[in-house]
Amino acid sequence: MEAVPRLGLVDARFLPPASRILTTLAGQLATPELWIALGETMRGWALGLALAFCAAVVAGVVIGIVPGLRALTSSTVEFLRPIPSVALVPLATLLFGPSLGSTLLLVVYAAFWQVLIQVLYGVAAVDSVAYDTARSYGLSAWSRVRHLVWPTALPYVMTGLRLAAAVAFILAVTAELVIGSPGLGAEIQVAQSSGAVPVVYALIVLAGLVGIGVNAAVRLLERRVLAWHPAVRSEVGA
């Protein structure tokens, strides 16, 4: 990243060298505005992700285990899924204007499908012998979900969570960028339209760093909740 502009592969005006980006970032980090913006973004992100995650898990499990529901909903799900959140911008501005509400709408819409599909596949991965065991011991529907379906789907769900966490963050920033709700995205937008290239890249780097942090947190969570899983236990043991 340092070498590319230094060697003149691209003009340093348009892609500043990494050192310049990092010093700019350090300077930005010293301003309270940045932290306020970051806080706004993280609030939209966390709220949106939580809403989307809960809704998708409930919907996914219900669709996955109630017979017939999957066929009933599949066409609608597949239709709605590829509709870009950004296409919902007019609807979002209409309903909420440039505020947390529109950020949430976009974030929830985008993150929901990520988790839902993972949950559906996860529910489908329940081992048939284990399932028969649960049935023959008369486990109620709720117990089956809690003790069998959920643990089986969990690895899929965790991947879904990681995917959704990033997508939610991306959408939070994008919503701010496009609609102008306050936050990191709005800061990027202002910097962009001011031609402040190093600031733009500094903020982008910050977004990336946040992503690393989010992933590390989910990984940590995964280690706790999936200690029994072959994928995790092989690493702990080794």
């Binding site: 066409s75 509709i83 296409a87 599909i117």
Partner: protein, 249 residues
């Protein structure tokens, strides 16, 4: 019966739409949108705007599939590689495509390669992550069996790793399909003068709301069509999985 099941919910939703539409400029009635749809998309627009977009989508999707599986397998197999690469990947994953686009434009120009690259930059992640997780979760006894019988290298990849991780890889591919469509739209928001995504954005900016919704409708239909196709393929590839009781669905 099958048709009834497939159509019941969509029909209900259209009814609901009908009921709430008209209350606002931004929510035209299904009839209006339907008319706009017929007017706009059953014309040369189809060849001019939709086909090139779809072509880029498929290119980007295929590239992301190859890249995602190609990277995901080694990362999934090697904990050390995972530890070193994961932070880098997570960094790029967290960067929103709209702010990534200017950077990609610097490197790849403003034409088709840029748009394909944007699609790849979004489709890659679900495939990559799912591949990594699928490979990590391979059955230990099967892995031991491979080691014992000297199944190594390419054969191990082809006979064990890929089929074993296939259920999760397919999950990723399915996720990526709709993300690809989304990024097709986003990529056309920059440096474009044609394309399905561009047209939708233009309609939106020109306040041609019914036309915009008809474009969104087309996106949905495109997604639906691709996912039906995808399911066909998946049922073939994973026939053992759905038959075996390793999965119940």
């Amino acid at each position: 019966m099958r048709a009834v099941r497939l159509l019941a919910l969509p029909a209900l939703l259209v009814l609901l739409w009908w009921a709430v539409s008209g209350s606002s400029f931004y929510l035209p009635s299904p009839g209006r949108v339907g008319r706009a749809f017929a007017e706009i998309w059953f014309s040369e627009r189809l060849a001019e705007d939709v086909l090139p977009s779809a072509g880029r989508l498929l290119m980007g999707y295929a590239a992301a599939g190859l890249l995602g599986v190609g990277l995901g397998v080694p990362i999934g197999l090697s904990p050390r590689l995972r530890a070193t690469l994961e932070p880098v990947l997570e960094f790029f994953r967290a960067i929103p495509p709209p702010v990534l686009v200017p950077l990609i434009m610097l490197l790849a120009g403003i034409d088709t390669p840029m748009k394909v690259l944007v699609i790849v930059s979004g489709c890659l992640w679900p495939i990559l992550l799912n591949t990594v997780e699928g490979v990590r979760a391979l059955d230990e006894v099967l892995a031991d069996t491979c080691r014992m019988y000297g199944v190594r290298g390419l054969a191990r990849l082809r006979r064990f790793v890929l089929p074993g991780a296939a259920p999760q890889i397919m999950t990723g591919l399915r996720q990526a399909l709709s993300i690809g469509i989304i990024l097709m739209v986003i990529s056309e928001m920059f440096a474009s003068s044609s394309g399905l995504g561009f047209t939708i954005v233009l309609f939106q900016r020109q306040f041609q709301i019914a036309e915009m919704w008809s474009g969104i409708l087309l996106l949905g239909l495109l997604g639906l069509g691709l996912s039906v196709l995808f399911r066909r393929v998946e049922r073939r590839v994973l026939s053992w999985y759905y038959g075996s009781g390793a999965a119940r669905a």
